[in-house]
């Protein structure tokens, strides 16, 4: 009987958490499209999420592009298809590595800081204080972060695509001895708008996931420093897992025939 009880309890907890998250998301989205808007907060969050993530995203992308070129070369040289390096690098980066790696890195950076900031506001009663000052905390805290996430993630991924392809170019030309102009020409001719756009759409979805997870876990944290710590961990872990899951779902939607 204990097994049945356990199964029931786990299922109920899971469904409860899913429901709470769905309600939170619905409320948050509705505040994103209804005035008043806090433009000052939105701009501040865009700088925080977009501009200050550039070093992390840039470094991730350049190494990803370099590894991609090297791996593709060693892999394809087994059947003399080295000329595909430019093709594969551009495809892999724009479709997958750009959005996913940038998403995961920014999930660690932004998801954690959002959860910690909002969680601390919760346990120090600052969120209650907002309500008593006739300010809706969902509108004031959560909506600007969601909007900034949706807008800035595609920009970050676009930067990651460019830097990543440049990383691949560096390795291909200076280490593997490709002809620079032919490599660039190959890159250019294989690049398709659809690939880039699908990556940017993924990025926007990941932006929602990361900011939503950070805000949700922070908003519902309780019990002081330890609670904020737990919220931060949960925000990052859940954001990373959801990014990978939605990456598959979106790929299925975009590319599966």
């Amino acid at each position: 009987m204990n097994f049945v009880r356990l199964t029931g309890r786990v299922s109920l907890a899971f469904l409860g958490a899913t429901g709470r998250l769905a309600l939170f998301a619905a409320t948050a989205f509705s505040h994103c499209v209804r005035p008043p808007f806090y433009f000052r907060s939105i701009v501040r969050q865009m700088i925080e999420i977009g501009y200050f993530s550039l070093p992390v995203v840039g470094l991730t992308a350049i190494f990803a592009g370099m590894v991609m070129a090297l791996q593709t070369y060693t892999g394809t040289s087994r059947f003399s298809a080295e000329s595909a390096v430019a093709n594969i690098v551009v495809l892999a980066l724009t479709r997958e590595l750009g959005p996913v790696l940038a998403g995961l890195m920014v999930a660690g950076r932004i998801g954690a800081s959002l959860a910690a900031e909002i969680g601390t506001m919760r346990v120090t009663e600052q969120i209650d204080a907002l309500t008593t000052l006739s300010t809706n905390p969902m509108k004031y805290l959560v909506a600007p972060r969601l909007i900034a996430g949706v807008l800035m993630f595609p920009v970050l991924v676009l930067v990651a695509d460019i830097i990543g392809i440049f990383g691949g170019y560096l390795v291909a030309v200076y280490k593997l001895g490709f002809n620079a102009s032919i490599y660039i020409q190959n890159t250019y001719s294989f690049m398709e708008v659809g690939d880039v756009v699908s990556g940017l759409v993924k990025a926007a979805v990941f932006g929602i996931i990361v900011t939503l997870m950070g805000c949700y876990h922070g908003y519902h944290s309780k019990g002081g420093a330890q609670g904020v710590g737990t919220a931060t961990t949960n925000a990052v872990v859940s954001a990373c897992i959801l990014i990978l899951a939605f990456d598959y779902i979106l790929t299925e939607i975009f590319f599966a025939q």
């Binding site: 506001m121 009663e125 309500t131 008593t132």
Partner: protein
């Protein structure tokens, strides 16, 4: 509106967390312009009472009327309107640490678009002066202030929008006795200047005696005694006597084992 209508009227308020009943049929009236202090031990539900009035917690059952208007179960929009009548001083001040002091004080004004940023800053500096802080504090961030100064800024924020009702959540907790008395004086003076009704919760009897017109004792989820501050020593209620004299022996048994 009749003259006898209380500012806040609470009837039969119930709230439980899981199996733990916190409020069990609480009744309380707070008259217009009156300062009522609710006393009671830790964990007796004083904060729950305050949060229920503010709409931060949803009571299970009962009625809370503000100016004759039922506030339980009202929509978010109406709640924002009602909350404009309120000012609240939180126990830990709850200042927004990302904003400088003056923006903290002026937050309600800016949020309600009652003032431009320049006007709001002037009002904030005036309110800071009212709680004894100079204009040099306006540009500092909350983390740069001492505990007593944070309480003062919290008080300035609570009165910034000229509220009709001010709530004080343990205003003297965590302060040294002298600073506690300074804050008590400020609460009395400021409430009088603004002409606001005040509802405070505390377990500090010195504070309660100083700021209250009327004291109500919360025990077992109900108000077991309420009366003018001068009568509390002769209440004849053994629960009240035990609490105000701070005796471990008596009818109130503290749950030592949590």
């Amino acid at each position: 509106m009749t003259e006898s209508q209380p500012k806040i009227r609470i009837r039969d308020l119930h709230k439980a967390f899981g199996r733990k009943t916190v409020l069990n049929g609480l009744n309380l009236d707070v008259g217009v312009g009156e300062s009522v202090v609710v006393i009671g031990g830790s964990g007796t539900g004083k904060s729950v009472l305050l949060k229920s009035i503010l709409g931060l917690l949803e009571p299970d059952r009962g009625s809370i009327e503000v100016d004759g208007q039922e506030v339980i179960g009202m929509s978010t929009g109406d709640r924002e309107e009602i909350n404009k009548k309120f000012g609240m001083l939180f126990q830990g001040a709850a200042l927004f640490d990302s904003l400088p002091t003056w923006e903290n004080v002026a937050f309600g004004l800016l949020a309600q678009k009652k003032a431009t940023r320049a006007e709001a800053k002037d009002i904030a500096i005036a309110k800071l002066a009212q709680v004894g802080l100079g204009p040099d504090v306006a540009g500092l961030f909350p983390a740069e202030l001492s505990g007593g100064m944070q309480k003062r800024v919290g008080l300035a924020r609570a009165i910034a929008a000229d509220p009709e009702i001010i709530f004080f959540d343990e205003p003297t907790t965590g302060l040294d006795p002298i600073m506690a008395d300074v804050i008590n004086d400020l609460i009395v003076n400021v409430s009088r200047e603004v002409g606001a009704t005040a509802l405070s919760i505390t377990h500090d009897m010195a504070s309660a005696r100083k700021i209250a017109d009327r004291i109500a004792m919360l025990y077992g989820g109900e108000i077991i005694w309420a009366g003018p501050t001068g009568e509390i020593d002769g209440s004849g209620n053994e629960y009240v006597d035990q609490f105000i004299n701070g005796r471990a022996e008596g009818p109130i048994q503290m749950a030592v084992r949590a």
